[in-house]
C-alpha cells in the first residue's frame, strides 16, 4: 500500500473536468438539434444513399481480410512501442556509457529485433502489399 499512497491522483481531477465538459458539449449539441430541428420521417427519405439506386441489402457484410491483418500487425507494433516508452524516458538519465547501460541497450535492441524479424517475415509474406 505504501507505493500506492505516493501516487498523486490529484493531478487528474482537471482532466476529469475537461472530459465532463467535452461529453456535455457533445450531448447538449445532439439534444439541441433533436429538439430544435424539424422531424419529418418516413417514405423514400429513410433509404440510405446508394448513388440514387434503391439500397441493395444490408451494409454489414463480410469485408476484405486485409483489414484484419492490419489490425493484428498493429497490435504487435503498438504494444512494442508502448513497452519502449519507459526505456526511452530513463535511458539517457542513467549513465549510458557504463556496462549496465550497454546491457540495457542490448536487451532493448534484442526486443526490437524480434519485432523486426516479424516485420521482415510479414514483408516477405506480402502482408504489407495493399494492391
Amino acid at each position: 500500500m505504501s507505493h500506492l499512497a505516493t501516487v498523486n491522483l490529484e493531478g487528474y481531477v482537471p482532466i476529469l473536468l475537461l472530459l465532463l465538459m467535452a461529453i456535455g458539449f457533445a450531448v447538449i449539441n445532439i439534444i439541441a438539434t433533436l429538439v430544435i430541428g424539424p422531424q419529418r420521417d418516413g417514405g423514400v427519405k429513410s433509404m440510405t444513399y446508394e448513388s440514387g439506386m434503391n439500397p441493395f441489402g444490408t451494409a454489414r457484410k463480410r469485408f476484405n481480410v486485409r483489414f484484419y491483418i492490419i489490425a493484428m500487425t498493429f497490435l504487435v507494433f503498438d504494444i512494442e512501442v508502448i513497452f519502449l516508452y519507459p526505456w526511452a524516458a530513463t535511458y539517457s538519465n542513467i549513465d549510458p556509457r557504463t556496462p549496465e547501460g550497454a546491457v540495457f541497450l542490448g536487451r532493448v535492441l534484442f526486443f526490437m529485433a524480434t519485432t523486426v524479424i516479424a516485420y521482415v517475415y510479414g514483408y516477405r509474406k506480402g502482408v504489407f502489399r495493399f494492391d
Binding site: E10, G11, Y12, V13, P14, I15, L17, L18, L19, M21, A22, A26, N29, I30, T33, I36, G37, P38, Q39, R40, K45, S46, M47, T48, Y49, E50, S51, T58, A59, R60, F63, I70, A71, T73, F74, F77, D78, V81, I82, L84, Y85, A88, A89, Y91, S92, P96, R97, V108, L109, M112, T115, V116, Y123, R124, K125, G126, F128, R129, F130, D131
Partner: protein, 456 residues
C-alpha cells in the same frame, strides 16, 4: 473525507486552464473553417466567403452594421446556426445508439487530447483567501490542464480512442459508402499511430523525460552551446515523420481517403446531418489544433521565442504567461495553416499507397531512427549537430536503399495453362474477338439467326 481546501496551486491553475482554453479552442475553430475556405479560395483563384456579416438578418442589426460584411467572418456562425436548425436524420436500418454515440466518440478525444499541453510555462500563484478561508495555497504551477508524469503516453492513449468515432459512425449508418469509409479510416489511423509513437520515442531518447513541460524547457537553450535548441534541429527526420503521421491521424489531405468524394461520397459521415455531422467536422478541426500543438511542443520550442525575454521559464508573472500562451497559439495556427495549404496543394494519395507509405516506408524509417538515436545516446553523442548529421544520414540511407529492397513475391499470378493468355503448346491462339459481341449491323448469330445460334 478530509476537506479539499486549500487547493494545491496546480489543481487551481488546471481548472482555470480547462475553463479558459476550451472556450479559446471552441472560439478558434469556426474561424479556422473560415480560414480554410479563404485559403482554398485564394489557391484556386476565387474570392471565397465575403458577404455574411453579423446582422443575423435582423433589421435593427442591419441598420447598425449598415450592411457591412465583416469580410465574411460571420459565415461560420451562420453555418453553425444552420446546423442546429436542420433536421437530425437517422436512416432506416441504422443502429440507433451507435449512430448517436459516434459523433460524441469523435469529438470527446479531440478535446481531451490537449490536456497535457503546457500552454504557458509556470505561473506563480498567490495565496487566495475568501471570507477568511484559505482557498488556494501559494506556489508555482504549470499552465496546463494537468501536469501528469505519464505525459506523452496520455497523448497516444487518447489518440487511439479517436478511431472509435469514425469506425462506429461508418458501421452504424448501414450505408455501404459509410462502411467502407469507416473501415479505411480505422485502418489508416491505426497504421499511422505506429510511426507517430516511434518518432516521439526518438525525441524522448534525447530529452530523457516524457513530461511536455520539461521537454519545452530543455529546448530553451542555444543550439550553439552543444545540446539544446528546438528539437527539429536535432531530429529533423522525426519531425517530418511526426508531421506526416498527424496529417493522417487527423484525416487530412493527402491522406483523407475516408471521405474521398469521388469514391465514397462522404465516407463515414455520408448519412449524418445537422449537429451530428457538425460534431464530426468540429472534431477534425479540434484534432488538427491538438496535434499541431503537440508538434509545436515537441519540435518547435513550445512557448519559446529566441530572444524574447518574456518567454523564458524564469518569468512566472501573469503577463509572461499571457505572452507565452499567445506565442504557442500563434505557432499552432501557423502549423494549421500549413496543413490547409498542404490540403489544397497536394492531390489525394490512392488508398493502397497510403497504407504502403506507412508500412513500407515510415515504419522502417522510424524504427531505424530509434535504433540509431539509442546508439548515439549510448555513445554520448547527443550534441545537436551530431544528432542532425545522424538524421540526415539515416534519411539519406533510407532513400538510397529503398529501391534495393527485395520485392515481396507472394501471390504471384500463376500461369493458367490453357487460358487465352497462356495457351497450351500447340493450341491455336485466337487474338481477335470471337463472336459474342453484338453490333447494330451484326447482332449475335446474324440477322436471321436466333440469339443462341453459334456465331461464325
Amino acid at each position: 473525507m478530509p476537506s479539499p481546501f486549500p487547493l494545491s496551486p496546480q489543481l487551481f491553475v488546471g481548472c482555470i486552464t480547462v475553463l479558459v482554453m476550451i472556450h479559446v479552442i471552441l472560439g478558434i475553430i469556426p474561424f479556422l473553417i473560415y480560414l480554410e475556405r479563404k485559403i482554398s479560395a485564394y489557391i484556386q483563384d476565387r474570392i471565397g466567403p465575403n458577404r455574411v456579416g453579423f446582422d443575423l438578418g435582423l433589421p435593427l442589426l442591419k441598420t447598425l452594421t449598415r450592411g457591412f460584411g465583416f469580410w465574411g467572418l460571420g459565415q461560420s456562425l451562420a453555418d453553425g446556426l444552420k446546423f442546429i436548425l436542420k433536421e437530425d436524420y437517422r436512416p432506416f436500418g441504422a443502429d440507433k445508439w451507435l449512430f448517436t454515440l459516434a459523433p460524441a466518440c469523435a469529438v470527446v478525444p479531440a478535446f481531451v487530447g490537449w490536456a497535457i499541453i503546457p500552454w504557458g510555462g509556470h505561473v506563480s500563484v498567490p495565496e487566495i483567501n475568501l471570507f477568511g478561508a484559505n482557498l488556494v495555497s501559494a506556489g508555482t504551477a504549470l499552465v496546463a490542464v494537468a501536469d501528469i508524469n505519464i505525459g506523452f503516453v496520455f497523448l497516444l492513449a487518447v489518440a487511439a480512442v479517436g478511431v472509435y468515432g469514425v469506425t462506429l459512425g461508418g458501421w452504424a449508418s448501414n450505408n455501404k459508402y459509410s462502411f467502407l469509409g469507416g473501415l479505411r479510416c480505422s485502418a489508416g489511423m491505426i497504421s499511422y499511430e505506429i510511426p507517430m509513437g516511434l518518432s516521439i520515442l526518438a525525441v524522448l531518447l534525447v530529452t530523457g523525460t516524457v513530461r511536455p513541460s520539461l521537454i519545452v524547457e530543455q529546448q530553451i537553450s542555444s543550439p550553439l552551446s552543444g545540446t539544446g535548441g528546438w528539437l527539429f534541429l536535432a531530429q529533423p527526420l522525426a519531425c517530418l515523420l511526426f508531421y506526416t503521421c498527424i496529417l493522417a491521424e487527423a484525416n487530412r489531405a493527402p491522406f483523407d481517403n475516408a471521405e474521398a468524394e469521388q469514391e465514397l461520397v462522404g465516407g463515414y459521415h455520408t448519412e449524418y446531418s445537422a449537429m451530428r455531422f457538425a460534431l464530426f467536422f468540429l472534431a477534425e478541426y479540434a484534432h488538427m489544433m491538438t496535434s499541431s500543438a503537440f508538434c509545436v511542443v515537441l519540435f518547435f520550442g513550445g512557448y519559446h521565442v529566441p530572444g524574447l525575454w518574456l518567454t523564458y521559464p524564469e518569468e512566472t508573472g501573469l503577463l509572461a504567461v499571457l505572452v507565452k500562451v499567445a506565442v504557442l497559439v500563434t505557432k499552432v495556427l501557423l502549423s494549421v495553416c500549413f496543413m490547409m495549404v498542404i490540403r489544397w496543394t497536394i492531390p489525394r494519395i490512392r488508398y493502397d499507397q497510403v497504407l504502403k507509405l506507412c508500412w513500407q516506408s515510415l515504419i522502417p524509417a522510424s524504427i531505424t531512427l530509434v535504433v540509431a538515436t539509442s546508439i548515439m545516446v549510448y555513445q554520448g553523442w547527443t550534441a545537436t549537430w551530431q544528432l542532425f548529421v545522424m538524421n540526415v544520414l539515416v534519411g539519406g540511407a533510407m532513400i538510397a536503399l529503398f529501391p534495393l529492397l527485395p520485392k515481396a513475391d507472394v501471390n504471384k499470378r500463376l500461369p493458367m495453362a490453357g487460358s487465352r493468355f497462356n495457351p497450351l503448346p500447340g493450341e491455336p491462339v485466337i487474338t481477335g474477338p470471337v463472336g459474342g459481341i453484338a453490333r447494330a449491323d451484326d447482332p449475335i448469330g446474324g440477322l436471321a439467326g436466333s440469339a443462341f445460334a453459334p456465331s461464325r
